[in-house]
Symmetry: C2
Subunit: 257 residues, 2 copies
């Protein structure tokens, strides 16, 4: 049965989409059958897997509004074991309808995820910044969440609110919601800021902080240009290796729990 993990952060631009896409690809290259779900109406996930808007044949919005089956909105990617679902809400009207239905028809979304648990090994869900309807739906559908923390003070500072939000959501669920852990992104330990944030996170979160952190690399930022996550485009690069190692650490942690 699949493990469903959401990648969340209230702070924007911390590496949620970059991490979800590279982790999904790294899990699938490690033999997992993976479903990646992008819930952010900005097309970060589809762009990063090589899909232009005209290559999408439907998405979450069509499941809600037209009653399409979840199977009908799945997209095969360049990796055999990686399947993608995204909102495909391109106009402003589609976007606001989609957000409204993500809240009002949340059961349709939850049922679709539950049905998928018997098909996949790992389901990863990318979320927009903040605590909007997409992030709430994703967390209600998930077993656990991953929290990317950019090596910047403003991001570190926003963690207290995030953990309060997770606690609040736990009350709305029957099942427990685990925090897989926090991992640093865009680190550059030549800078004072990066070392400061790493030291503070270690103090405040100790065992919840993954050992593996993701360095700031040019390769990782090229995903939206190349249409390929770094783990496919350049497996041996520092960023790719970090994401493969993070997959190992995630699997090790949840197996030991």
């Amino acid at each position: 049965r699949a493990r469903v993990i959401s990648v969340i952060s209230q702070k924007g631009g911390v590496g949620k989409t970059t991490s979800t896409v590279n982790l999904a690809a790294a899990f699938s290259l490690s033999g997992h059958n993976v479903l990646i779900i992008g819930t952010d109406p900005q097309c970060g996930v589809s762009r990063s897997l090589g899909f232009g808007s005209e290559q999408l044949h439907g998405g979450l919005k069509d499941m809600f509004q037209m009653g399409l089956d979840f199977d009908e909105i799945k997209h095969k990617t360049s990796l055999e074991n990686l399947t993608m679902v995204v909102p495909d809400a391109l106009t402003m009207d589609e976007e606001s309808n989609y957000k409204y239905l993500m809240e009002m028809s949340i059961d349709t979304f939850l049922d679709a995820i539950n049905e998928s648990r018997s098909i996949y090994d790992t389901i990863l869900i990318d979320c927009p910044p903040g605590f909007g309807p997409e992030t709430k739906a994703a967390l209600l559908a998930s077993d656990s969440c991953l929290v990317p923390v950019q090596a910047e003070e403003l991001c570190r500072d926003s963690l207290t609110r995030l953990l309060a939000f997770i606690d609040e959501l736990r009350e709305q669920r029957e099942m427990p919601l685990a925090v897989e852990g926090l991992f640093m992104t865009m680190t550059d330990h030549r800078t004072l800021m990066s070392r400061h944030v790493a030291a503070r996170l270690d103090e405040d979160f100790g065992s919840d902080l993954f050992d593996i952190s993701i360095p700031r690399t040019t390769r990782l930022s090229e995903m939206a240009l190349t249409g390929k996550p770094a783990v496919i485009h350049d497996r041996r690069s520092a960023g790719s290796r970090a994401y493969f190692n993070l997959v190992d650490e995630i699997v090790e942690r949840y197996s030991n729990r």
Copy 2:
């Protein structure tokens, strides 16, 4: 009479808060009487001006819920000509009430901004990522908007949606809403990505793109640690000079219009 300018972007982490705070400080050091309004419940603006949560004596949430006057929620900053207002919504309940009231009591917000027009020269409004109630309220209160564009493909890609959103909002207002322009942030023209984005923006937006761009510098990222925007903390640094130059270009553009 004040000019009211919102700093907006659907994409997260592109430098909205960093720019709003540094621009507000640069305007005030150039002789303008400035009001900076942070509408994002994450405390980026107040943190960057040296306020911990215990030093705030009220905010937008108190104006909505307790009927406090706008004057009562204003905070004096370390700069004589710079006054700050923020949400001061610290708990999850306060945050969701604040967002709800930003939509339902939007007239209270609009009246407060309109009354302030006769007191200040420039009013700058920082917004959270996305098109939520704060961004809508800010744009309905503004004369124009500024769009920071991070030197990254994912950010450039999100601009079409942003301009569609602005068009939609224009229909809801009586007064015209100008776009002051787009300006690049976190540029590093040693990288291919930065040069690629600059070239594409110039092609697609030409005259709407400011000549001045903001470089990625360590100094600018230290604002949340030092509690001071770079234009105060280190006026001669590259980042500060860029923001002072951007103030000049903004003023020149709107005077010529």
